[in-house]
Amino acid sequence: MLESYLNNRLKQKEILLMTHIVLGYPTFEDAFKIIESMVSAGVDLMELQIPFSEPIADGSVILHANQKALAKGATVKKCIDFAKTVAETFEIPFLFMSYYNILFKYGIERFVDTMAENGLQGAIVPDLPPEEGKDYLEAMDKYRLSPVFIFSPTTSDERMNYLGDFGRGFIYCVARKGVTGVDTDFSRQLEDYLVRCRSATDLPLALGFGVKERADIDFLKGKVDIAVIGSETIRLVDKEGIGAVGGFIKNLR
């Protein structure tokens, strides 16, 4: 299971790297190549985002990637098939990331079943708090997949405990208010927040939103277990092409 994989891996590395891509962006072929270079650059796990037309928690970079992927014909089926290939090809764990409607329309149990069958390890659904996620949680449990929940700086201690109870695999801590793709201030304040997160759960902690360079990751060492690179690789692909991804990831650690 995801959590034990992460804990094992953490015995070898001070901090793990999770990256994120939007399926079908720029194309499925390119996405495959990006994953390939990420994996060979040493990424420890990956989020595969199934594009959605209304990604309210994402900032403009990922939003555009969602829209362009859809415009180019990315369907849920294509994304699932692609994920299957990816999971079969590469060793690291893959998670789906998407908005709840994608699961809901597919049929929740059917979606989770498919995930399990295709070798995915878990899912991040940013607009699904546990209160709304009974069916999802049951299915994830049944298929032994990890539902990843999110902590935010506005989350109370009490609620962190509550979320920690439902989370599996790790907790995704968002570094700050706002959407993805905006700069984060890696500061004392962030540290305090992470201390709060740490004391609320035994699960590994991932930190995302605004992580984009080695200094950020250095800052996070010892504070969280996983650094999440989200928008930054998409920005890189947009600017310098997919060839730049491998070097970028290697340089982070």
Partner: protein, 408 residues
């Protein structure tokens, strides 16, 4: 948040974690206000001194004669300050913002009506204000943009997605998750995560409360049918709420656009083209494809051009308590034209949907039957759209001349 705002299987609060605390606060502030009898009084007081409540009901004697069926009454939300029922909601939420001690408001807008209303409320209450508006709607409703800016609001043109109402909502959420400490998102209709559907219809219920009393007094009985247009559903719920326990046929009218058969419409509850889904924080019927991707919608009325619909209405669609119908763009323009000429009333294009449906049904009813149409807003704001719908050559010549003046 304990009560998660479900109406049968619709509603809920599908929130990014970052907003959970904000919603908890909002739910609490709203519940406290609701339980404070002074709050509704304060609300009614400001609505009757800053806006013009109670708005009257008008007996449409000429339309009644014209159709020779039911007696037609019109609830005049167009007479509100800023020209639509949207004022009710924004002033109500404004009072909550004051209670929360926040200093900035944001809002989405489609027709521009809600944007103007919010910018007005912000000016009056001294809040900073940002309005998100899809690029397509900015085109359709430029005068409203002009007024929002004059009112001191920043208007941000949303170029994402289909560039209409739903995309403006998404952008508003993106702003909100960044600035919720200082900022309240004044959602414009009875959609979105709990408590918005409840809260917005609570404030809008002033429409029906007044209307029920007025029609009993003036028409001497309950209406057989009540008509309201349905965008997000706020004016419909506001009007219908007071009649739910009465033997009254409630009719919500959606935007039939170019016709149901063309697929170019915005009918969530009156067509087979929608299905249940979850987006923008709540569960309801959406116009979406099989993958759950939202589809483009179409309506001559920007304020009805929306993919989702109030979960409260979705509930009543399922229980059958409210009947949902569609009126096409053409039917709407015709109904608008007739209403202007017969009664001297200029409904907004949105509101004209309610008129259009009522006109289809009134002739088959008898003069013993009363019908009530909610005129949710006035059509002045729609001059560019209406002038185009009528293809008025004099208007076009005027615009060309104006443009030449600006080129010079």
């Amino acid at each position: 948040m304990k009560d998660r705002g479900y109406y049968k299987k619709f509603g809920g609060a599908y929130l990014p974690e970052i907003l959970v605390a904000t919603f908890d606060e909002l739910v609490e502030i709203f519940q406290t206000a609701k339980n404070d009898p002074g709050f509704w009084e304060e609300y009614v007081e400001i609505m009757s001194t800053y806006s013009c409540r109670p708005t009257p009901i008008t007996f449409a004697q000429n339309l009644t004669r014209h159709f020779g069926g039911a007696r037609i009454y019109v609830k005049r939300e167009d007479l509100n300050h800023t020209g639509a029922h949207k004022a009710n909601n924004v002033i109500g939420q404004g009072l909550l913002v004051k209670r929360m001690g926040k200093t900035r408001v944001i809002a989405e807008t489609g027709a521009g009506q809600h944007g103007v209303a919010t910018a007005t409320m912000a000016a009056r209450f001294g809040f900073k204000c940002t309005i998100y508006m899809g690029e397509v709607d900015v085109q359709r409703q430029r005068p409203n943009v002009f007024w929002m800016e004059r009112l001191g609001a920043e208007v941000i043109t949303v170029t994402e997605g289909t560039r209409i109402l739903k995309d403006a909502i998404n952008e508003s959420f993106r702003d909100w998750v960044t600035h919720m400490d200082t900022t309240h998102y004044v959602l414009g209709t009875a959609c979105g995560p709990h408590p918005f559907p409840e809260m917005v219809s609570y404030f809008q219920s002033i429409i029906g409360q007044e209307a029920r009393k007025q029609i009993l007094e003036q028409a001497g009985g309950l209406p057989a049918r009540v008509y309201a247009c349905v965008g997000g559903g706020s004016n419909a719920l506001g009007t219908f709420n007071a009649f739910l326990d009465d033997p009254v046929d409630l009719v919500g009218v959606e935007a039939g656009g170019e016709g149901l058969e063309t697929g170019r419409h915005a009918c969530r509850l009156s067509s087979k083209d929608s299905s249940i889904g979850v987006a923008q924080g709540y569960k309801t019927y959406f116009l979406q494809d099989n993958d759950g991707q939202m589809r483009e919608t179409h309506s001559v009325a920007a304020g009805l051009d929306y993919v989702g619909v109030s979960p409260i209405l979705a509930q009543y669609a399922e229980t059958g308590r409210i009947r949902f119908e569609a009126a096409t763009d053409q039917e709407v323009v015709d109904a608008l034209s007739l209403t202007i000429q017969k009664e001297g009333l200029i409904p907004a294009l949105e509101s004209a949907h309610a008129f259009a449906q009522a006109f289809k049904e009134a002739p088959a009813m008898t003069p013993r039957d009363i019908i009530l149409i909610n005129q949710s807003g006035r059509g002045d704001k729609d001059i560019f759209t209406i002038a185009d719908a009528f293809a008025d050559p004099k208007w076009q010549a005027f615009i060309k001349e104006k443009a030449e003046g600006y080129h010079a």
